[in-house]
């Protein structure tokens, strides 16, 4: 063996003792690492490893840079920054409370989920268990197309095409169901309501939730489905006892991914929601509501100075915390059900 440089696992090779034979735990991965002895390889693997942690660096960078701004905001505003409402930059110190915005983001997301989850679930059931396979393929492509439409185009469409009929629907809701507290409206002004914004968010969430729950449902083992049908299960009982329990984790994860998108959505909501700082607790067809992401964009255009910019950045920090937390939980749930991509 003279002249052959060996180190690492290869060094352990001696006559009559094959490394894999001697140690059954050595799998293919160890054969891979056996070849990392070359110096160029070490450089290569270090560069690649460094690049692989870029995502961690960016996440940490966002948390640190925006977190510092949040600390500044707390120093001038105190806890009132989160728990009060109002935005007046001319007072000293400037008044800034984002409770209405934080709550508004959640309210919009809840309205969106209330519309999107049933539609997306039914849509995926249709595609997997009801429709002919060819139609299902076409529908999958259409849903992908819907997912590919940028939010600014959805906002443009919602502003000009969806708004007029949606205002009429809300007037009708108020006329016939106005006695239910959430459908109260005293001003008879139905534009810029949380309902429309939630509807727009639902349209953006439907493709996300549908594509994930469709994939999860289509992974139900066919022998289970066929066995259930052979035992006399109807479509409903098969769904209830076989398909839905099997895909529950994935569907919940998909819903949470949609929720993360809804919380962070900015531009589409900007066009259809009238931003008000007073907290709109539950009057979903009353004009005016809040959204933290939209606040940032709408105030940024006319930002008065570094103080206000600082407050907006601090608001962005809380948006980041919320969406990242939701997204991490969603990914954990989805990957636990064995689905790691997208």
């Amino acid at each position: 063996m003279a002249g052959v440089r060996t180190c690492g696992p290869l060094a352990s090779i001696s006559l009559g003792q094959h490394p894999v034979m001697a140690n059954p735990d050595l799998d293919q991965r160890d054969l891979h690492s056996a070849a990392t002895s070359h110096r160029g390889d070490r450089v290569f693997s270090r560069v690649v490893t460094g690049a692989a942690f870029a995502s961690l660096v960016v996440l940490a960078g966002i948390a640190i840079f925006l977190g510092i701004q949040a600390v500044y905001a707390f120093q001038t505003e105190g806890l009132a920054f989160i728990f009060s409402t109002g935005w007046d930059i001319n007072t000293d110190p400037p008044t800034a409370g984002i409770w209405g915005m934080l709550y508004g983001s959640v309210l919009l997301a809840v309205i969106g989920l209330a519309i999107a989850v049933p539609v997306a679930l039914m849509l995926s059931i249709f595609m997997v268990f009801i429709s002919p396979p060819k139609l299902a393929t076409v529908l999958t492509n259409l849903i992908d197309l819907l997912a590919a439409i940028p939010s600014v185009i959805i906002g443009l469409w919602a502003f000009y095409i969806l708004n007029p009929p949606a205002e009429e629907w809300q007037a009708l809701l108020n006329q016939y169901l106005g006695w239910i507290p959430i459908f109260e409206n005293t001003s008879q002004n139905f534009s810029g309501t949380p309902f429309i914004a939630g509807l727009v968010l639902a349209i953006m969430m439907i493709p996300i939730i549908t594509s994930i729950s469709r994939e999860v449902l289509s992974r139900t083992p066919p022998e289970l489905v066929n066995a259930a049908e052979a035992l006399g299960c109807s479509l409903w009982t098969m769904l209830r006892f076989v398909a839905l329990p099997y895909g529950r984790g994935g569907i919940v994860g998909g819903v949470m991914l949609g929720l993360g998108r809804a919380l962070g959505e900015t531009i589409a909501v900007f066009f259809v929601l009238k931003l008000t700082f007073e907290t709109n607790w539950y009057h979903i067809i009353e004009s005016g509501g809040g959204s933290i992401a939209t606040l940032i964009v709408s105030r940024f255009g006319e930002v008065s100075g570094p103080e206000e910019l600082n407050l907006l950045l601090a608001a962005g920090f809380f948006l980041f915390l919320g969406t990242i937390a939701v997204n991490m939980v969603a990914n954990l749930i989805v990957s636990r059900t064995g689905r790691l991509k997208k």
């Binding site: 490893t49 692989a52 996440l59 039914m122 819907l146 940028p150 185009i153 469409w157 000009y160």
Partner: protein, 362 residues
């Protein structure tokens, strides 16, 4: 006593015919009932819609939907008994959800084409908006400056995100270090960063360090944050499809790890990697909020990515939506149509390449 084994005769006719699935057999009475359940509510609703003054939305929600549920329930009960009713409810709702989504999509695409074509013309694609005010007629002005801006921003984003994204994928599939689960977790978490936060982050760096101002470079960095997870994950899927025999073969021939990746694995995955890049571009090209914050806006053409604020198609649309001039709004629709065509082309090419021999992304 000997055991008698029954051996069924292998009937070739039986073997060659497709599976029968008798439990899926639908008798004619069933078909009739379903047809009735579809036609009767539709006729009643149509009559109400055209002959009565009740608003269409009310007819749809209060009359048609319950009537359709009721009719399908009765049809199911008549043909399949009580157990059929739950099925009919699911089927009606599933078809309803599908129709709803299809109507939304058709309305989106239809309005985009109908309204966008009004502004679309040759000069709309290459002229800029230097002397254009919202009230200028459509004969002048265009999105040429925004198109160039978008291309510059996307070029910067690609130059930053693609090498890092592919390196991340190589780390996960080729180096296979101990941190693989963590790297994947962080890449996935990164895909949850809202676009507006990406813009804010780059803006904060620009403001606090003073290295750059609002320009194509800053916008590209913000886009890169959004693009990286898509590129990394798609490239990972692609590299996983490369058979291990290629790697072990190259290693056995005496190649080093780095050479195996650069000369064997990556070339084998070339089309897939291109697909990953295209999907990453398609993912970010319509994002508005990051450019609004990090790249700004400009009416003129800017060619220097490190220079002044720069226009882009999404920001151009954003600025022309809520303007009380019909021609400005028509420009927004036109720009939206151009943007949608760009995205459609990117996706089509990506999918076409993805059908190749190894590079299946999905």
């Amino acid at each position: 006593m000997s055991t008698i084994l029954y051996q069924p005769p292998a009937d070739p006719a039986l073997l060659s015919q497709p599976p029968q699935r008798p439990w899926r057999h639908k008798p004619r009475s069933f078909t009739t009932a379903v047809a009735l359940a579809v036609i009767v509510p539709a006729v009643i609703t149509a009559a109400l819609f055209f002959l009565s003054p009740i608003p269409g939305a009310i007819v749809l929600v209060v009359v048609y939907f319950p009537l359709q549920l009721l009719a399908s329930g009765i049809a199911a009960w008549a043909t399949r008994g009580v157990r059929g009713i739950a099925d009919s409810v699911i089927i009606v709702n599933a078809i309803g959800a599908t129709v709803f989504s299809f109507v939304v999509l058709a309305s989106l695409i239809g309005s985009l084409i109908v309204r966008g074509l009004r502004a679309l013309s040759a000069h709309f694609v290459y002229q800029n908006s230097v002397y254009i005010s919202p009230s200028t007629p459509l004969d002048y002005g265009g999105i040429g400056h925004a198109l160039i801006g978008t291309i510059l921003v996307v070029a910067v984003a690609t130059a930053v995100a693609v090498p890092i994204g592919i390196a991340t994928a190589i780390y996960i599939t080729e180096v296979r270090g101990r941190a693989v689960p963590y790297v994947r977790f962080f890449v996935q978490a990164m895909s949850g960063v809202p676009s507006v936060v990406a813009g804010l982050f780059i803006l904060t760096i620009a403001v606090s360090t003073g290295w750059f101002s609002q320009n194509a470079f800053a916008g590209g960095l913000a886009y890169a944050i959004l693009m990286l997870p898509t590129v990394a994950r798609t490239a990972e899927e692609v590299l996983k499809l490369i058979p291990d025999e290629l790697r072990t073969g190259a290693l056995a021939l005496g190649s080093t790890r780095a050479r195996t990746v650069m000369r064997v694995v990556l070339p084998a995955a070339k089309t897939g990697i291109i697909t990953a890049i295209l999907l990453g571009i398609a993912r970010v090209i319509g994002e508005t909020a990051p450019l609004l914050l990090a790249a700004g806006n400009n009416d003129g053409t800017v060619l220097n990515p490190f220079g002044q604020a720069i226009a882009s198609i999404p920001v151009y649309i954003f600025n022309n939506v809520a303007v009380p001039y019909p021609d400005a709004v028509a420009r927004a629709w036109g720009a939206a149509l151009v943007l949608m065509i760009l995205i459609a082309v990117l996706f089509t090419v990506a999918r076409f390449l993805g059908r190749g021999r190894v590079g299946r992304a999905k």
